[in-house]
Symmetry: C3
Subunit: 496 residues, 3 copies
Amino acid sequence: MLHPDRYFSPDPAQREIARALYQHIAQLPLICPHGHVDPRTFADEHFSFGTPTDLFILPDHYIFRMLYSQGIAMEALGIPRADAGAVENDHRKIWQTFAENFYLFRGTPTGIWITDELETIFGIDENLNGESAPRLYDALVEKLAAPEFRPRALYEKFNIEVLCTTDAAIDPLESHQKIRASSMLPSPRGRGDGGEGWRGDIRPTFRPDNVLNLDAANWRANIDALARVSGIDVHDYSSYISALEQRRAFFKQMGATATDHAAVTPYTNELSKVNAENIFQRALRGAADANDAAQFTAHMLIEMARMSVDDGLVMQLHPGSFRNHNESVYKKFGADKGADIPIATEYTRNLQPLLNKFGNDARLTLILFTLDETTYSRELAPLAGHYPAVKLGPPWWFYDSLNGFHHFFDNVVETAGIYNTVGFNDDTRAFASIPVRHDVWRRATTNWLAGLVTRHILDENEAMDMARELAYGLAKRAYKLETGDWRLANGNDRVS
Amino acid sequence: MLHPDRYFSPDPAQREIARALYQHIAQLPLICPHGHVDPRTFADEHFSFGTPTDLFILPDHYIFRMLYSQGIAMEALGIPRADAGAVENDHRKIWQTFAENFYLFRGTPTGIWITDELETIFGIDENLNGESAPRLYDALVEKLAAPEFRPRALYEKFNIEVLCTTDAAIDPLESHQKIRASSMLPSPRGRGDGGEGWRGDIRPTFRPDNVLNLDAANWRANIDALARVSGIDVHDYSSYISALEQRRAFFKQMGATATDHAAVTPYTNELSKVNAENIFQRALRGAADANDAAQFTAHMLIEMARMSVDDGLVMQLHPGSFRNHNESVYKKFGADKGADIPIATEYTRNLQPLLNKFGNDARLTLILFTLDETTYSRELAPLAGHYPAVKLGPPWWFYDSLNGFHHFFDNVVETAGIYNTVGFNDDTRAFASIPVRHDVWRRATTNWLAGLVTRHILDENEAMDMARELAYGLAKRAYKLETGDWRLANGNDRVS
Amino acid sequence: MLHPDRYFSPDPAQREIARALYQHIAQLPLICPHGHVDPRTFADEHFSFGTPTDLFILPDHYIFRMLYSQGIAMEALGIPRADAGAVENDHRKIWQTFAENFYLFRGTPTGIWITDELETIFGIDENLNGESAPRLYDALVEKLAAPEFRPRALYEKFNIEVLCTTDAAIDPLESHQKIRASSMLPSPRGRGDGGEGWRGDIRPTFRPDNVLNLDAANWRANIDALARVSGIDVHDYSSYISALEQRRAFFKQMGATATDHAAVTPYTNELSKVNAENIFQRALRGAADANDAAQFTAHMLIEMARMSVDDGLVMQLHPGSFRNHNESVYKKFGADKGADIPIATEYTRNLQPLLNKFGNDARLTLILFTLDETTYSRELAPLAGHYPAVKLGPPWWFYDSLNGFHHFFDNVVETAGIYNTVGFNDDTRAFASIPVRHDVWRRATTNWLAGLVTRHILDENEAMDMARELAYGLAKRAYKLETGDWRLANGNDRVS
């Protein structure tokens, strides 16, 4: 059912060029430098995705927020309640509800992803609706039971070159350690055999939000956990900084090349050491207020940039989400349930302190993301088009979409060029959606480039080169993923 | 002169599909759930629109603001002065001035509407300019004298299924009562005969701004009027609430299915009963300040949502207009003279208190409008794509235009889908512009859907279904206008 | 290499109409009402542009900011250091660095301008890259040595009708006086001969920022300079106002038709005479603070509007740039080095005081610019579509681009029409880029108009007329440059 020219312009001249550009880059390996796939998926070679409902619905807040918006209770979708209250646990029934309402996703990225996944990964070329739901469920169950639908096998099938997960600073990275151990085992049949040893390149990303943001849920307990995993007694600002440095070093040793930071705003502001210590002590005593939290995050973002200059980890910043906007949903179902709503975000003034300190230092790579598209042309492209340290991340979250990509190209490139951008991030929890997400990006980029060729702004050679960069090269270089096998680089011999 | 493919993409593939989709839905009846047509227009079966100047120019601030911006005095356009000072009263002369300057509207919706109305309603297929002005004036005068150009006849000709007006909370709805009385009369020749009884479905909408916003002109006098029409002695917050509830019940009995609220910002915040009472008492004494007014409106919006949960009236919110920006024009000519200028508007934080209280309640339908297009993708679509109560109104005012529609589709649908939107509102004072406004919407929607079909994002069946929903079904359901004949439902038998 | 249909839509129907419209207006003379070309360029008939590096790289912060963003030191590009520290002075080497990195400008306006200039002005039809760099350098050196590449000759070749420079209020306009003196000399071979007398119409623009903004670098010294050039002892607010009026009169006598104002925000607010005097006295003593500066600028913008009503100079406002964002670059290299970053800008509330005082006065023309595209449809078009005094400047700076133009048309015209806009400004320091900048504008406007024709929103006659207005007429009239030869009007006879 999927048309080979899908998502390209209907204009025949543009479509022909888009097709040629796309064919040039469609088979390049996938670089996945930022996302939320659970590393446990790969830690056990026998890991199974479970039912179709486990795979498609339960982990995907894009899906259940839309159903919820139309009055379907989250309980009916099997979303676990924080109070362990009863929820639907018949996965066939949940799938049926989803299928009957799948028309809600017409014209949305989720609609595109699901339709594409069903056909290209599971070979299902039938529309998903209430009538077909039971048939498709059975077909999916059968597929998912097969060894070739285990995560490690799909990793190979998807042609992933490297996949970075996102991990709390206090995470001991046990799954990553298992994956690493596996990579040390003999693998007589070579990479991707599903045998005893597995060579998949899964790396952690250092995400310290829940120890940096004083208003994080359980901040105090997280500090204790930080002390535990780092082996450093965190009792003051200095030991806190040391513990963070220890964790960064450990993550780096485990293959991390990047950190990631969420903040309501990108406000940065350096505190004196005394002020930082005072706020930290208040926080330890449970006496920090909202202003303390804002000031401390503003300070720690600069401190993270300082550490990045020292240890070379690429710094990512994802600001502008008002998390858990729906208090009743948060209380009942917890975080990440589709109730995070963007807010207007200011970068020019907010980032100036950080950039004045480290923005001219080429040792820092600061990758900025946004949920406020108005900042693309007004703030982000001018910043990236000037500061050596600043690069722009691809369209994020709601903007990981055809229009989101279109707006990004139209608003960023004229000012920043493509070489101050970092290619694509799939940024997903839904492992099986990774290939289609990259494919939509690749189709959108080649269609955009074809538009420039038809308007005689680029020639085809330039467009070919840029298509390759946008699909592969920019992400690999920006995230420092081009340096060969990090396990060897870290002194870990392996038998192969 | 009007081209049958007007407003469609020039791409042949997209145009062909757009044409097919459009033909599928072009003849559907018009649902007009929000607008500003004066109900007196229909109360008297002999109502006449007056001169061409009365019909086209005097009620339309889109027109005279543009002429004024080019240095043409409002007096020369016959706009009445508040001080009853002299203004041009030769309607032919005003028409001539308008026609000579009609080129100013090239590329604007007003230009499209006027051109279309002249041809499709009045059969005039000549360009409007200074040379043709007298001829067109004569032709229009002749048409307007004919019975088939009376409002009730045009209502039938326009194929309007239902039309909602907007009425102050203190309005006794006399015209609506007359229309209702007319509907009770025998109508042997059936609906739309223009005979003694008339079956047009004209409904009021409850708009309480001038009793909710303490800084409204004449707020104190309006409270007295509220007491009068409700029969409730409004002397404190409780009696005020009771009076509002009484009015809502009366409006509902008269056919209203919705309320409408304007506010400078969508700020919501619940007051304690004591604080609400204190502010209300200060206001009664004329001692409320600007902060009181802001807090009271913020509180009353939540209170209106509470009443909607109780009585089922759909709640509309139109924030973000800085009214009467030009003080000298306001003093000379009063409100609604083209000097209302939009401001940046914030919904995510401002609506949280209301949504936390009632956003999860499917009994509430809260339809949000905006004059700040940046909020479509950043705030409004994420809110509508999550909260069961929230739906998005169509592009409003300056954005009731081809580009306005295009931006809406491109920025809303990927996140909220179309099923969290409510189709079209013509929102006009200019009754004769209703068909063309709906037609432009229908052409824009089918053209947009055709674009998705050519890109293989939708198939044609899906697009057909969505086109019908956008033209007809969504508005009818969202505004609860699908429940058969409300007059019968309210226990009013009628002879037919 | 340049394609004759470049920048037009690939749609064949639209392209054909665009081509016809473009051919209709491509040869119209250039009106250059706002820009930053150094008037010394024309004051000496033997002025030479220097090396290709002098011409293309050193004055163009669009170029070196992009190279800097990719880690190339400004010193390596020959940008002079404030501390006179060593920088590269081998212009061939700088050119080579530029050429090797020219691929960074793919898809940017700078890429378009440079490529077009090399071919259309210098006859170079080879790609610029590291390999071709030395050849192209040699070719350019040869061309630049020829008399036909002197500024006055290029002015004629470019078919410029009038060019306005931007000059500090305290500038004695020596170059303008020299150009004027030249125009008085006999010129037997007529205009444009490069002979003793030269008839180029070069006019100053009054830019008083550095005496209006109390926080301007060297404000106190600038006041002394103001006193010197005006001959008025500036010791209080009244004498300050008189000195400004004297300078405006002098600029007007030298041909100026406009003023220009930069401000971080468009905030306006009238001070009482006492408050204005108090702030001014504090500033003279060096005791004014940031709030004083903000209030004084807010007041002086209204005062400038008042003077414009009196003397007829068109008032331009360019707000919204956070200047010198990168403090280290500013300290090392000074202002205008590509480190000015836009900020969100508010016009509706900020301009109300000025507009309430003078917005209804047709003697004032206030031309508004923005670096915040969100304000086009939300604030600027509604203001321009109402107030007689307000007009909108073309896309500015980062938005002087194909997408910038597209966004402008799509967001402004439906509300304000084109007749409340003022055509094009090239706004450049780079004299040789003027023709291509106008050409891109003309191609973009005709392509946009062709899109409206193919959608049957305009007919071809209307589009022809609008194309001519956008290319020529609107700028000429809005800037009052249509009044024949100002030198004669100012009583300066000349021999011709």
